[in-house]
Symmetry: C2
Subunit: 365 residues, 2 copies
Amino acid sequence: MDERVREHAEVLVDWSARVEAGDDVVVSVGPDAHELAVAVAEKLGERGANLLATYSSGEITRAYLQAHDDAFDENPAHELALVENADVYLSLGGGRNTSATADVPGERRRAYTEARSEIRETRLGTRWVSTVQPTRSLAQQANMAYEEYRDFAYDAILRDWESLADEMAQLKDLLDAGSEVRLVSSDTDLTMSIEGRTAVNSAASVAYDSHNLPSGEVFTAPYATEGEVTFDVPMTIRGESVRNVRLAFEDGAVVDYDAEQGGDVIGDVLETDDGARRLGELGIGMNRGIDRYTDNILFDEKMGDTVHLALGRAYDACLPDGEPGNDSAVHVDLITDVDEDSRLEIDGEVVQRNGVFRFEDGFDA
Amino acid sequence: MDERVREHAEVLVDWSARVEAGDDVVVSVGPDAHELAVAVAEKLGERGANLLATYSSGEITRAYLQAHDDAFDENPAHELALVENADVYLSLGGGRNTSATADVPGERRRAYTEARSEIRETRLGTRWVSTVQPTRSLAQQANMAYEEYRDFAYDAILRDWESLADEMAQLKDLLDAGSEVRLVSSDTDLTMSIEGRTAVNSAASVAYDSHNLPSGEVFTAPYATEGEVTFDVPMTIRGESVRNVRLAFEDGAVVDYDAEQGGDVIGDVLETDDGARRLGELGIGMNRGIDRYTDNILFDEKMGDTVHLALGRAYDACLPDGEPGNDSAVHVDLITDVDEDSRLEIDGEVVQRNGVFRFEDGFDA
């Protein structure tokens, strides 16, 4: 076994999920995530935690959904009971085809998702962490050779998370103290209110309200968005290529949009519900182990020198206690590169210019 | 997909487990049982049942057990809750190495098994069925080519179960009406009481108290065993080859044993507890789709022209209500060939001679 698989498992179990003796842990294993699952099992055994492995396969989901009708039982008792009794939920992604469920009708998929909302919410109440084993399928999605992709993925995953958390805390403090954010670059001039909102220092650990490995971003829940923004990082959304999406906001909501490619998908997203026309997230990528786009949101949105905005649902951790943020059935991230001709301002003060933060060497106010 | 995989899934879901709309189904998937799992998912979708897939891997179990100490938490709540809320539990075996857990110390394994007894008992209270996807690893265990092994396995699995059930009912009736069974062949002359016990017509369906696919045996729970028996079908028990085991019984218990090979393993089994020295099962194989030994008990014990006896635990279905049968932590099957120089008598009347039953053509009383 590649020693990095063991290190990945150790970071996941100890740093990310803070597993302790006696924890009841569900490990969701993708068909090509077997090796990582073995390494995670070893760590869970060492820690004295209790392991139950589930199997998460796009091909199984597709076969089931294609054969089922549109009426699903609500929150089946066996699965709900499993997550209700889990302390930790580790999702080890890794399939053989990122398009495995491409031909499942959207309506079927939505009906299935809606019928399982309580299971999903309960799972989000555990110490959950999502990660992936670098697979051939993900390498292909990234247009990379397998060995090259593994190097890329482990560079992103095996960071010094404690030190990155300290670095990111500086940006979190600036955002928490601020009221208004302005993002300016070519084709972009957008302002958002963040007054009263709390930024998350997403350091790939539940101890930081952060549930992705890799992570490495600071995010908050903006509102009252005004202006225009162009997202120049290419990505696949719902199986379709999306390029250079432009959104125009007035009074917090999208009033106009277009795209060089994939405009239909963006239109579909915006039509979902009222919340889908408003922002749920402003995220600022700070993981410099991620040095290229790989068409995988788990990695792309954390990349250094990028900013992303999500249409749809806001994360509770950013909101004052009991206050509902933007609500929606979707959360769709779009990413823009900020390494050139760009600046991010908080209350009129530049905090990042051309990718360099004010607390870093080489910052030019 | 081989059409036989779909047929296998259909037999499993409809005939074996009697799955209906609304059933909460756990499907335990081995690492190489993916294809069967996809076919089962399709059937469960068609029936409107609710699917949760778990992942059962010897390598994961080994990694976990090797890293853990000998003190396991009793019946972890998340796994117990899962099986408590399951209506159906389908185990799709199929690994990559039948010796995947060979180096786990026996004591560790026993401690793990003991700590999970309530989970196991609860699972046995569901409509559970164990089957396997024919894998390269099982082909190797059988000393067969992969394609050849698939043909063998599907011949055993894709029977006309309804008609086999009718055939087996004739033997069940003979056993249920009888008091004493005598098995005679070269090196074997054994008598057992079956008075008051009920035979199971094991037709690969929960509707027949039968939980294996393939099945195709009639079994009961004998006691008061006297005499000697030689088991000439070679098999692997706990990773060791066992050949020509001979057991001598007095007053229902083993008083002497030897073996051409694997005597140590038999000794270990007999030492487990008091019940391990007594029989828990007399089984008569009636699946003529199984035409050779493949060193896999799921198949071997169902083979036509064989009889097996198990040391250890008896099945509840054979016992009068509320009466405890032979109890033990083990249930170890041993098999003898009865196709030559053999006869099976019930209360002095020959019911099978040289493999042919009295209700079959060619029977020679």
